[in-house]
């Protein structure tokens, strides 16, 4: 849409290869259809369940036990997603961007072949290309995985309640899904191979895991599934999962209605003909290395988003990189995408907002003696009346002593973590120091004031 503003002739080729279970979706990419949007809505559904429990202490009286209906929630969520898909179609049309629901692949220099779902092929040539094909969930590679397991691609439109669920993985996708499924009242177990939330601050990752465990989510640590068998067909059916310990020969078995695999995502770069045009990819990971202007090794081919090597996999980063790229190409701008100090939030039952360095990364980069960590637990006022945990919410600021105690890491674990973090991210971009933070007067009574 940005390029169309500069009167360029633009075409978008978007195609979703169906999941092993036959699932597909509309225009908008992962975030809109099977990522951030449905995730946050279902997380909200779970939070509302908790709020209903809390409400009794605040005086709300209702005698019936409150139950959750999966189909009602899913229908509402899918309806909203449908309106977004439609909105994008209208938007592209209005801006004169040609859209084809077809699978694009390079067949030669400056040429792509587009194949639609009926197998009809068309060839297109263009001056420049932007690849933003994203990723898809990785499967375990064990017997029964593709036949019986689901992934996040299937979960948000599942036409039946998943029931007793085993979540395999310890990524934020795994923990967020396990979190809201449990919040909706389901029996949830998480099977973890080694650590939680690799790449995130481990001190906080462990607190998140502890909180989830204390709130009814079971964890099976240091095990990996080796086979999934179907005991009974159904919606949901019954599955038997056999798992082996990573530290010995122990075998464990369990029965579940649903197995959700969330062990990582693989870039969609292997089958789009990159070899035909000479675009280099990292053979091991499938990611595309680009320079700081999002250009691949082939000058007229650019790439943005989750497929980039060594860059953050976040929707707003992809959008910003793409917009700035187009402005540089056609608008005479010079700004490059700044990948430093990008804020993010993990929507686990206890939300985690972060910006900048984790404690481990800060120690590694600057040396333990050169950083100062300020931290504190806090008890949200709203949690006092219903007697919720008083020592779980936590905030941590990491400062670089050698640079005026510049704030280089911001971490908050608690309700509305995303809303809290956004403002501090802007402050960090302005070079926030501990002194400036201290001299900022807090808003009372809110959680964020613990940081000031």
């Amino acid at each position: 849409q940005e390029a169309a503003k500069y009167e360029k002739k633009v075409m978008v080729l978007d195609f979703v290869m169906p999941t092993p279970l036959g699932n597909s979706w509309g225009l908008g990419g992962t975030c809109v259809n099977v990522g951030c949007i449905p995730k946050k809505l279902m997380h909200q559904a779970a939070l509302l369940g908790q709020a209903l429990q809390d409400s009794r202490k605040y005086g709300w009286q209702f005698t019936e036990e409150v139950k959750h209906n999966w189909m009602t929630m899913t229908e509402s969520v899918q309806n909203y997603i449908g309106s977004l898909n439609w909105g994008y179609r209208v938007s592209l049309r209005e801006k004169n961007v040609t859209y084809e629901n077809a699978y694009g692949e390079f067949v030669g220099p400056h040429t792509v072949k587009a194949t639609n779902k009926r197998g009809v092929e068309k060839l297109y040539t263009a001056e420049r290309f932007l690849i933003a094909t994203g990723e898809r969930p990785r499967y375990l590679g064990i017997p029964g995985d593709k036949e019986y397991c689901i992934s996040s691609d299937d979960l948000f439109s599942l036409p039946y309640c998943p029931g007793k669920t085993l979540v395999v993985g310890a990524s934020y996708v795994a923990l967020e899904c396990a979190g809201f499924l449990a919040g909706l009242g389901l029996d949830v177990t998480v099977m973890v191979r080694s650590i939680l939330l690799r790449g995130f601050d481990q001190d906080i990752a462990n607190k998140i895991g502890e909180y989830m465990e204390e709130h009814g989510i079971k964890f099976i640590r240091e095990f990996v599934p080796i086979k999934v068998e179907q005991i009974e067909e159904g919606t949901p059916g019954r599955l038997k999962v056999t798992a082996k310990s990573t530290t010995g020969n122990q075998i464990t078995e369990g029965e579940y209605n649903t197995v959700l695999v969330a062990i990582g995502r693989d870039a969609c770069t292997r089958k789009i003909g990159l070899d035909k045009v000479g675009v280099k990819i990292n053979e091991k990971t499938g990611k595309i290395p680009v320079n700081d202007e999002e250009q691949t090794n082939v000058p007229y081919i650019y790439a943005v988003g989750d497929i980039l090597q060594d860059k953050l996999e976040l929707t707003p980063v992809a959008i910003q990189a793409a917009r700035l790229l187009v402005q540089r190409l056609y608008g005479g701008a010079t700004s490059k995408c700044d990948y430093v100090n990008v804020p993010t939030t993990v929507f686990t039952p206890l939300e985690y907002g972060a910006c900048g360095y984790s404690e481990e990364a800060a120690v590694q980069k600057f040396g333990e003696e050169n950083i100062e960590v300020y931290h504190s637990h806090f008890w949200p006022l709203e949690w006092t009346v219903p007697s919720r945990d008083n020592n779980k919410c936590y905030a941590k600021i990491i400062c670089n002593i050698q640079d005026n105690e510049r704030v280089i890491g911001f971490h908050v674990l608690g309700p509305n973590a995303g809303e809290i973090t956004q403002g501090f991210a802007a402050a960090m971009r302005c070079g926030l120091t501990k002194e400036q933070l201290d001299s900022t007067i807090g808003i009372h009574p809110v959680c964020a004031e613990v940081c000031t």
């Binding site: 909203y80 449908g82 898909n85 179609r89 209208v90 049309r93 209005e94």
Partner: protein, 122 residues
């Protein structure tokens, strides 16, 4: 079989008609009432109607096109009228595919390409 048109006025008649054709693709165009001379109080509806009518042949077979007059201007302006409350309409003209989030509102209905896209999208 092609498609057929049903003309209705007011919310209850609209709902009744839509329910009767449950199972077939239903498209609806909502416009302000017309006076004795056949002119609507809603100028955008006057502009949109011929554009929409010209694209009707693009609707899939078996479709039902419901042309619905919502009421007079004061009824429409009332924020609690049934169309606003139940169908979540925000403006007239609105062209929508019943039972889906797909719709075009006001000036969007002037664009033949968008209307065609609504009728042919699956």
């Amino acid at each position: 079989m092609g498609w057929e048109e049903k003309q209705v006025r007011g919310y209850p008649e609209f709902v009744q008609t839509a329910q009767r054709y449950h199972g077939r693709p239903i498209f609806a165009l909502f416009c302000g009432d017309k006076d004795a001379a056949g002119k609507s109080w809603c100028p955008d509806c006057v502009t949109a109607e011929p554009v929409v009518r010209k694209e009707l042949h693009n609707m899939p077979d078996e479709s039902v096109f419901i042309y619905c007059l919502v009421g007079d201007r004061s009824y429409w302006k009332d924020p609690n009228n049934e169309f606003r409350k139940n169908l979540k309409l925000t403006g007239v003209p609105t062209l929508l595919k019943y039972g889906t989030p797909q719709k075009l509102v006001e000036e969007e209905c002037f664009k033949a390409e968008l209307v065609r896209m609504l009728f042919t999208e699956d």
